[in-house]
Structures are given as structure tokens and as C-alpha cells.
Symmetry: C2
Subunit: 411 residues, 2 copies
Amino acid sequence: MAKRNIIVGQSGGPTAVINSSLAGVYKTARERGFHTVYGMLHGIQGLLDEQYVDLSTQIHSDMDIELLKRTPSAFLGSCRYKLPEIHEDMEIYEKIFAILDKLEIEVFIYIGGNDSMDTIKKLSDYAIVKGHSQKFLGVPKTIDNDLALTDHTPGFGSAAKYIAASTKEIIRDALGLAYKKDMITIIEIMGRNAGWLTGATALAKTEECDGPDLIYLPEVPFDIEKFRDKVKELLKQKQSIIIAVSEGIKLPDGRYVCELSGGADYVDPFGHKQLAGTAAYLAGFLAAEIGCKTRGIEFSTLQRSASHMASRVDIDEAFMVGGAAVKAADEGDTGKMVVIDRLSDDPYMSTAGIYDVHKIANNEKLVPRSWMNEDASYVTDEFINYIEPLIQGDYTPFMVNGLPQHLVLKR
Amino acid sequence: MAKRNIIVGQSGGPTAVINSSLAGVYKTARERGFHTVYGMLHGIQGLLDEQYVDLSTQIHSDMDIELLKRTPSAFLGSCRYKLPEIHEDMEIYEKIFAILDKLEIEVFIYIGGNDSMDTIKKLSDYAIVKGHSQKFLGVPKTIDNDLALTDHTPGFGSAAKYIAASTKEIIRDALGLAYKKDMITIIEIMGRNAGWLTGATALAKTEECDGPDLIYLPEVPFDIEKFRDKVKELLKQKQSIIIAVSEGIKLPDGRYVCELSGGADYVDPFGHKQLAGTAAYLAGFLAAEIGCKTRGIEFSTLQRSASHMASRVDIDEAFMVGGAAVKAADEGDTGKMVVIDRLSDDPYMSTAGIYDVHKIANNEKLVPRSWMNEDASYVTDEFINYIEPLIQGDYTPFMVNGLPQHLVLKR
């Protein structure tokens, strides 16, 4: 009988909890009696170069599992690599399966976004057609929450929590400075097409904080004149205005707002003009139009890597879906993605469901228009009720010499 | 006998721990038997408008004191207001003292930077010359750590801790993505003239993290060609390069590096061109010169407002200097600033000292050249040994509905 080995990889943009899914895969595989748990280094791209590790050389204790849950970014390294269609390049598939056979892999698990689910689909199709016995399972992750079928994506809750907490702090900073002069603060949030994370700034509205005054999502065209007039109107009532905008807001003619900036001196190697950010552009625009102090703030990469402010619900769910993928494969499933099903809002309860990767459409899940207010300058209570459970609780970071400790790959 | 009342104000740019100093003033004033503790709203500027509160209407319990220690930005509101010379505008001084007399103030405490110490100097001089009995004490704060006489400033340790922790997370993010392609990450840190905060990124070098590869402080002119060559050299050894730069780095001809960007379309109401940031400029520059993926990240306002990642040493010292100012005034001192004296490095021990505000020179405390390496592209072990004790420990945030709770002013 062949060894029951398992291999797991990570793909796409990292999140604060993608390693908690890895921890869930590892722990469940151990508990279900799998022999060796391999980790692909840099996903399928690294696997093609035969880059992998035996995870038992990396994770030595339950303490290491806990540390892994608190480590941001892809522990194994990530990649952005899309497999060709099977009929386009059979050789690459033969190579992958030769490696899997050599390692006596029974289960292949891939943690990632849409492209990763496409990888799972192609590999499981190929296996069935060619009579290979391996099982292929996908585990979703993305801070953007734009995957269909799952109630929400692992990674989203922690990014939302970081954004909401940071927005509260920025609002306090602005209020402390506003006296006898107006000040406008524009916060730019990740999300090129989907406004889930930008909407999460509304969570900063709590018993001791007004939250942002305006929130603009990329789902609805951005009318810059109406925006200016709305800000002017607000300045009659208060001195400190806080505005959250998605990096991806677009004008009615389809251009990104940040394209209006004209860009800086340099063009990057792919021929893209280096654009000033959306917040920076709008801060300049309002300063010129209204004549008051403005500032633009980008939360930037920390939105996906700030594991020090990760959500416990998110870390736990990420762990759960990792484990559920192992369980499903062990019970015979292949060509499936594990999803999160919401069982109840109040109290919040969720469980892992399973979905055929062939049924995943490639369309992004956007914020529904009905979850924004009439002029699309804020989100509704339904939006807030949907997100609020996902940012609850925390895992205390393991602090060493004053800083959060991480588990890192030893070569 | 007049009531023993005390008034306290906050001034200048906020920090994560300026409210801990306020908490220290309040608690010590209560314990030493002062009657009413007033808070100026928006510092001396608000006081001139007779804007103040009785702090007992705001702080009701030891729990509120603890919450105040965990609240970023200026609880009372801040201002940027420099008093005129006494001989230039006597009236403004008469107005201030009339308000102080009306409120039966015995002690006036001002928490702030250089301008605030100037306020303390002028008010104490005026009081002595005019025979007023009030005592005036200054409590330092600034994230920039550029005040002389004090070993370090309250607020610096927390900003340094946030910067070091975030740098670690950014480094993990970059490593997860680097496979068969080079990537350069440039992190921009606050500090126009002093490089203390930029140097704090070196703390990210820990047992499981290499830390930044290059660190450029504003104290030394920045040679952009040498910089490019150094990065090219590094890319021969590794794929992910992390560079920390101060927002204030300047070319040998005196121009800020960010001025090279040419700026965006808008000019602000003060006639300043809206400049792209230093990191964004250098990211564009390296992309064009080297032809690899680059990204610029600004830590921005969160450096001074992220109380969720504040240092326990910093919060405790901020509290201590607030209390020490009350004690000093109560014992008869006036025209003084409380400072932090370092008693020992290992184990770290500090205490509050006291200094005559007349002796404070207005020169900024810069990072000594000897605390940088030979070509000024990194900091030395001496620099790291100086900062490391200041980021230790933490105060667990009080989390409510998944977010850190703050104490806010009720009007």
C-alpha cells in the first residue's frame, strides 16, 4: 500500500490568516493519520521546480502551530501562476503528476483565490481523465471578500478589523487637531473592484466614535463634483471630515480617479505610469477647491499583513477550512472547494461547507447596490451586520523583545 | 485660603501616549489633594477662548484612567499656537492670568514639544515678574525624539514599536511573494530632520527576521546614484530588498528627494505643490533604473496614533512624567520641564528628572553620525541598544465589539 502523503501550497496575495489555514491542514492531516505532510514552496510554480519541504521539519510542537496562526503572509511562499489549459500543454501536467507520484501524494491542497481554484479544477479533471488517484481540494483566501459561493473569505475579517481599528485611531488623531480650522482626512483602502474592505471603515462607528462621514465604494461611479459639494455641505456642520475611498473608485467615463493625477516622472517596466494614489489626488483636489487643510492616508500593504490585529473569528475559520479540506479529501472528495457557511447571525455561527470547483463562476462578488445608501456615499446597516461578527475576538500575539514573533521557514 | 486647583493642556502633534501623561497628571493631582483638575481644550489657544472642562466630569473611575492610557491623540484636543514675546503683546498674558486667577489655578501643566516648553518659559517668567503665584511645569512629548536634555521623549517608544512591528510584517509579506523575480520594498517613515524613527526599523532584525537591508536617515545627504548601485549590488545576493527611508532625506544640493517627483496637478492653498512621497518617488526611480518590481509604503499618521501597538515602557514613562510634573509644582518648582533620565541599560531603569526650561536650546537632537555605519546606510548596535528597551511590553487594549475602545471627551 502506498504511503498516505499529503501536499499543501499557498498562492496569490497573502493575508494575515493564510497560515492559519496551513496550520489547519497540517494539524488535521496529522490527526487523521497521514504520513508525510509536504509543503510546496511558492505554490505550483515552486513545485514544478521540485521545491518543497517536509513540514515536520518546520513545525515541531503545538506552540509552533499557535505561532503559525499568528504569522502573516505565506509561510511557504506564494506565487501568481495560472496553469495552461490541459490541451494546450499536456507536458506540464505530466511533470506535476510525476512529482506527485514520486512523493506518493494522496491529497493535494491549495490555499488561494480564484486562480487557485482554477488550478484545483484542472488538476482534478486531469487526474480523473488519466486515471490518477490523487484528490485535489481548494481552500479559499482573499482579503477582498470577492469570491462567490462562500459567505465570506478567510482573510477578509482580519483586514476589516485592522482597517476599522486604524480608522478609529485616525479619527481620534484628526479630532485632536481640529480647532478653529477645517481639516479633511481621506483614507484609501484596498479593493480594485469590490468595496467590502472600504465599507468596513463603517465599523469604526461605535459608541465613542462617529466613524467616517463618507464612504465611497468602487461598485458605483464616482461623481467628483457631487462629492466636493457634499464635503462643502458637511463642513458647515463639523470641522473634521473623514472620508473613506476605495483605491478603485472610477469616474462615470470609466477612468480611475487616481488617473486624474497625471502621474509622476517615471513609467514602470510594464509601461504603467506611476500614479499618485486616489486619496492623495482627492486631498489635493479638495485643498484646491475648498481651500482647507487636507491629508490623504493609504493603509497600504499592512491591510493584508497586520496579523497583530487579526480577528479571532477569522483565524479560527481559516484553520477550520484548512482542516475541513483534509477531512473532505480523506473521505473521498476531489475537485472541490471548502466554503464558509453562515448558520446564524445572532449569535454568530458558521461551519465549513463544500462546493464543486466546476461550478465556481469567475465573476467577482461585489457589494450589492442595496447595501449602500441612496447616493452611494455610505453603507447600510445590513452591510454592517454582515461584517461585524467577522472582526470579533483576537489572538494575543506572542511578543518577544517587544515585537510579535513569527514562525518562519528554515531551509 | 485659595482653592488648590490645577489646569493641564496638550499641544502639538499627538502621540499614542500623550493621554497617559494626562492620566498621570490627573491621578497624581488627586492623590496630592488638589481640588479641581481642569483640562484646557485645544491647549492655550482654547484657554484664551475660555474653553476648558473639569476633568472629574470626564474621568469617573480607575477604569477610565486605564482607558485614557490606551487612547491615542490628544484627549483634550491639541493646538499649534506659539505665544508672542511678553513685550510684544502684554494683553494676551493679562488675559491668560485673568482666566487662571478666576479658576483659582495654582499649577499650570503643559504637555507638548518645543513650542510648549517655550510657553512654559514665557508664562513662568511673566508670573515671576508680575508677582503671580502660579507654578508652570512642562511635560515633554513627541514621537520624533528630537528634544534635547531628556534621554528620550514620551511617545517615541510607541511609535518605534509600531514601526518595528509593521516592518516585520511587511518583510514577511515581501518574502512570501519573492520567487524568481526581484522585488524592492521602500518604507517611508516620519521624521523631517531627525532619523530616530527611521532607525527604529532596525529593531525588525530579530532571530526570525533579517530586518531592512538599508536604512537612510535625514541627517546625512542622500546620494541617489550610490543608492541605486548599492541596491543593484544587493539584488545579486537576494530577491527581496527592504529599504527604510526618512520622509526628510535630502540630496547633497539641499532639495528633498520627494521634490524630484515634480508633483501632481494641484497646489495647496498655502502655495505648496502636492508632492508625491519619498518612497513613491524612489520606487518609481528604481523601477525605471533597474527594471524590477518595486513598491513604496508610507506608514503615515498611524505612526503617532496606533495606540493598539503602544509600548508599556512608553505608556508608563509618559504617566510617570505627568505625575512628576504635579509633584515638582506641588513642591514649589516653576519654569521647569520634567525629563526622563536613564539610570541603567541592562536592566533598563529610568526615572523622572527636572530641568530649567530657560536652559532648553531650540536645537533638535539628531542621530549622531557615529550611530550610523560608514556609508550611512544603516544604524549601529549602539543605536539599537539605545532604542530596544523603549519598545518593551504592552498594555492589552480594552476590546469592545472587536475594536480597541477609547476614552473620549463628553461635552
